[in-house]
């Protein structure tokens, strides 16, 4: 459950989320240089599609998020890529809604940026061998942080934090595992073939 629906959250939270993600997107757009545009577009499309892959978990069903992979590969440019995909998910699939777009985007963008910052710190170029492991763990962390933010939003909307956090985090565990392995594999390939995508010298 990463897409909060319209009509659940108080307006102040919508405004706050909107402002935070607008700032991140404006900042991230500077990172979308002409040579990176195709890459941002491809990953935005992947993110858009990934949310349709469902598997049952507990009482409900969950889907892939892939915001960790977005952050690791795109860095700040993940913010506009995620926003574009979320707009289309809301319009075409009815995931979330247009009013809550800002807060949903913030819930996914900031964990992605966290993963990117940690990756730069934990995995400098001379330690490329451990890139898959670090990337996998950070992808799981990004999903975990997104779930935590969603639970916090639900708490601010008047739900009991522990109850909704338990459900949201509980259903996020399979997503964390799957995305961890998926991102580890993807970053492993990228580290070997196109290290410059990770900000390393080629």
């Amino acid at each position: 459950m990463a897409h909060l629906p319209d009509g659940l959250l108080p307006p102040i939270l919508l405004a706050g989320g909107g402002a935070a993600s607008a700032a991140a997107v404006l900042w991230g757009m500077r990172a979308v240089t002409p040579d990176r545009v195709p890459q941002v577009a491809v990953l935005s499309a992947v993110f858009f599609t990934a949310a349709l892959i469902h598997f049952p978990a507990g009482l409900g069903s969950v889907h892939l998020i892939l915001n960790g992979l977005m952050g690791l590969v795109l860095g700040p440019a993940a913010a506009p890529a995620i926003l574009v995909a979320l707009v289309l998910q809301a319009v075409l699939f009815g995931f979330g809604g247009l009013l809550v777009l800002g807060i949903n985007a913030a819930n996914m963008i900031f964990p992605a940026l966290t993963a990117w910052l940690l990756f730069k710190r934990l995995c400098p170029p001379h330690q490329a061998a451990r890139a898959p492991l670090v990337a996998g763990l950070l992808a799981a962390l990004a999903v975990f942080l997104t779930s935590l933010l969603v639970a916090a939003c639900l708490a601010l909307a008047g739900r009991e934090f522990l109850a909704s956090a338990a459900v949201v985090l509980g259903t996020a565990i399979p997503v964390m595992v799957i995305e961890g392995f998926f991102t580890a594999a993807a970053v492993g390939v990228i580290a070997r073939t196109r290290p410059q995508l990770l900000g390393w010298p080629s």
């Binding site: 499309a45 599609t49 349709l52 009482l59 998910q89 969603v150 639900l154």
Partner: protein, 178 residues
């Protein structure tokens, strides 16, 4: 290397998602005679079990609090012929609501508290039977309407590429000018 990989990735994701479902909870309510059957499900058909459904009158007065069974269903017998508002909420923030209007309930029910008027029970039985027959059709239409279609998916991917293409074009124009 990376471009064919990315294309392959998108292709795999699209194929994996082809019986596409939107991650959204929906609520379907129909009346069979005076009995109202609510069904909560995730788009794609999976039942939403253990969901709280609040039933209120049009003016917000609470009528009942239901919980869905493993088939995602909950039943309630209407006492009055009035609009019923159903609000389903899952613990993790999915919500869905629906209004069952008074004219779907049998006419012999009183519109306000009081003695029940004795309109023909035959008519009631016919209406209930009809409602039972029509219900699967209504449910099917409801599900079809909200299913994310493959065309939506492909359209969305195309839209993303188009949008970033536009962005690249704008940037290249700016560069050639300066």
């Amino acid at each position: 290397m990376i471009r064919p990989l990315a294309l392959a990735l998108i292709l795999i994701l699209i194929l994996a998602a082809s019986p596409a479902q939107a991650h959204r909870m929906k609520l379907f309510v129909s009346a069979e005679g005076a009995e109202m059957v609510a069904r909560a499900y995730f788009v794609g058909g999976e039942p939403a079990q253990g969901i709280d459904i609040q039933v209120t009158a049009a003016d917000g007065a609470p009528i009942a609090l239901l919980k869905t069974d493993p088939a995602g269903q909950a039943r309630l017998t209407a006492a009055l012929r009035q609009d019923h508002l159903f609000l389903a909420e899952s613990q993790d923030g999915h919500t869905a609501h629906l209004r069952l209007s008074a004219d779907q309930l049998p006419p012999h029910l009183a519109a306000a508290p009081g003695p029940v008027s004795a309109a023909g029970p035959d008519l009631d039985r016919i209406e209930a039977a009809l409602a039972r027959q029509v219900r699967p059709l209504k449910e099917q239409i409801d599900q079809l309407e909200s299913r994310a279609r493959l065309s939506d998916l492909i359209g969305g991917v195309g839209m993303i590429f188009g949008l970033f293409g536009l962005w690249a074009w704008k940037q290249s124009r700016r560069e050639t000018k300066s």
